[in-house]
């Protein structure tokens, strides 16, 4: 669906949501009158909404009015709550579903208004959340539509991430100096999507080292990641037609203890002084030792992580860092996996919509109409 048509659809739908959420309140009258009691809309029942034409408190004996409730069949009045006459509405949260109630407003002992019998029931839709539902539906259309398109074979475009040029360049440097490439796919298991993305980047690195005949060393902390990394590297070397260069100990398992792993890998860095080091995947704070040791042995370091906690340190210590969503875009670009390509395209479409709605909202707000900001607020 072209963006122009999608934009018109959004404008119509959010106008609909805007009007549903705002009931106009009428002007005030001397004495609170025409009290209306009805089921509170958009809830699971158990609440009755009282609305009355608000009175200016000047004309009443006391400045607050009392709400009384009587339950069928006996209908004897009991005090429920007190509020200010100008409020104009009150929600009785204690009305049991299915029971019939009548309400009365009394001010200074005299009865101001009595309501018809009403009972609360559960409703089909929370209309205060219409905006959130519309946004969710649009998001579903964008993502599932793009995934369907990608799966049907239509080639989806993903721009080449600058980081991937840095990856190829770094491997080129290692080949020039004849030293090895060290790859650490993070310290988490395969249930962490950052590790999955790292393994697909590893496939790309392995194909490059197979092409140039550079020595590769992949150090693992998690058994599952170790198994899938070995599988990826072996098939990369096969795909490049260089099974002879593939050695079993290229992909190796170090240890499971977090600090012991970091100490062992940094000792290996100092011993073998790799020309290029990749730290791509989910790392935690102790990864600082890896980045620092790698820098001290003069290696070019490429890092990559989606979750932002370690990124400041990687940016400050490494030569290039894949930041946040870039890691997933890189793995989508490399693996050409339809579901990944479709998801990224769907998310981009929704981001574009957010930008359009935001800019339109800003222009309207600059002319005093704050309607878009109100429509976007969720409850």
């Amino acid at each position: 669906m072209r963006w122009a048509t999608r934009f018109r659809l959004l404008a119509v739908l959010s106008a609909l949501a805007g009007s549903a959420a705002w009931a106009a309140t009428s002007s005030s009258a001397p004495v609170p009158a025409n009290l209306v009691a009805r089921d509170n809309p958009g809830d699971s029942g158990g609440a009755i909404l009282l609305t009355w034409t608000p009175a200016d408190s000047g004309s009443l004996p006391s400045d607050s009015i009392h709400i009384f409730r009587a339950e069928a069949p006996a209908f004897e009045w009991k005090q429920l709550a007190a509020t200010t006459p100008s409020a104009g509405r009150y929600v009785d949260q204690t009305a049991a579903a299915g029971h019939v109630y009548r309400y009365e407003l009394r001010s200074g002992g005299i009865s101001a208004a009595v309501s018809e019998p009403a009972s609360s029931r559960d409703n089909w839709f929370r209309n205060e959340r219409a905006n959130s539902l519309i946004a969710t539906i649009i998001f579903l259309i964008a993502v599932l539509g793009s995934i369907a398109m990608a799966r049907s074979g239509k080639p989806l475009f993903i721009r080449k991430i600058a980081g991937l040029n840095a990856v190829d360049e770094a491997i080129g440097r290692a080949t020039e100096t004849g030293k090895k490439v060290l790859y650490v796919p993070g310290i988490q298991s395969m249930d962490d999507i950052q590790t999955v993305a790292s393994v697909s980047v590893l496939g790309h690195v392995a194909r490059a080292t197979a092409r140039y005949g550079t020595d590769l060393d992949v150090a693992n902390r998690d058994p599952l990641t170790f198994a899938s990394a070995r599988e990826t590297v072996r098939s990369a070397y096969l795909a490049e037609g260089r099974p002879d260069l593939y050695r079993e100990e290229m992909v190796n398992y170090v240890t499971y203890d977090q600090f012991a792993f970091v100490a062992a890998v940094s000792a290996r860095m100092v011993r073998e002084r790799p020309a290029t080091i990749f730290l791509i995947g989910h790392f935690f704070a102790e990864s600082l030792i890896l980045a620092e040791t790698g820098q001290s042995v003069g290696a070019i370091q490429i890092a990559g992580q989606a979750d932002p906690t370690q990124l400041p340190f990687f940016v400050a210590t490494c030569d290039y860092t894949l930041i946040g969503e870039e890691l997933f875009a890189a793995s989508a670009y490399l693996s050409r996996e339809p579901v990944l390509l479709g998801s990224i395209r769907g998310q981009d479409i929704f981001k574009a919509l957010c930008l359009i709605v935001g800019i339109v909202g800003i222009v309207m707000a600059s002319f005093g109409n704050n309607w878009v900001a109100q429509v976007l607020l969720t409850r």
């Binding site: 203890d257 940016v315 870039e326 395209r345 704050n370 969720t378």
Partner: protein, 212 residues
Amino acid sequence: MTETFPGIGIWISALLTLFAFSFLYKDNPFFRFAESLFAGVSLGYYVGIVLNQTLKPNLIEPLTTNFAGNWDLLMAGGIGLLLYMRYVPKIGWVSRYALAIYVAYYIGVEFTRRIHGEVLPQLSRTVVPLFPWTGATLESLVFVIGVYSVLVYFFFSKEQNRVTRKIARVGIWFLMISFGAAFGFTVMGRIALLIGRLNFLILDWLYPALGI
């Protein structure tokens, strides 16, 4: 005032603290002992809190006191136990049903947070007036440029043309300022832990032990 001589508990804590700090000198058996003990004790700790604070009050007691009203909780316990079938050879796949329910439910709850609780409120915050020119609207302009340029930076399904490449460049600068800020905050966070531990070692253990 001099503290009483530290009890056996304080001595154990202080010793374990020193074992853990020994890693700074080099990876040694004392540190490995502390690390392994920590791994074991924290798993045992999980057993304690899960049994006492969740399974007993939310599963066992409701079933034993009012079975008629809570018989469906049996299924919750069943799903929980089904998770462990993954370790049974040959029929491990049976645990997929429990895993499907557990992973899909919590990722469904996460979905209710993401658009409803994050995207829309944050987008609504960027919809602010930019005219007339005042100090506040200027600041709002910087804020809006920041949010939207970062969004453009994380845009992958379109090639970057001359304009979007410049906007993405601005986005990187905002990202780097926020990473710098996160860097500064993280420094404080890491130091706080160390202050806490050395405070314990000196004021709760060393001083009382030396009778200061």
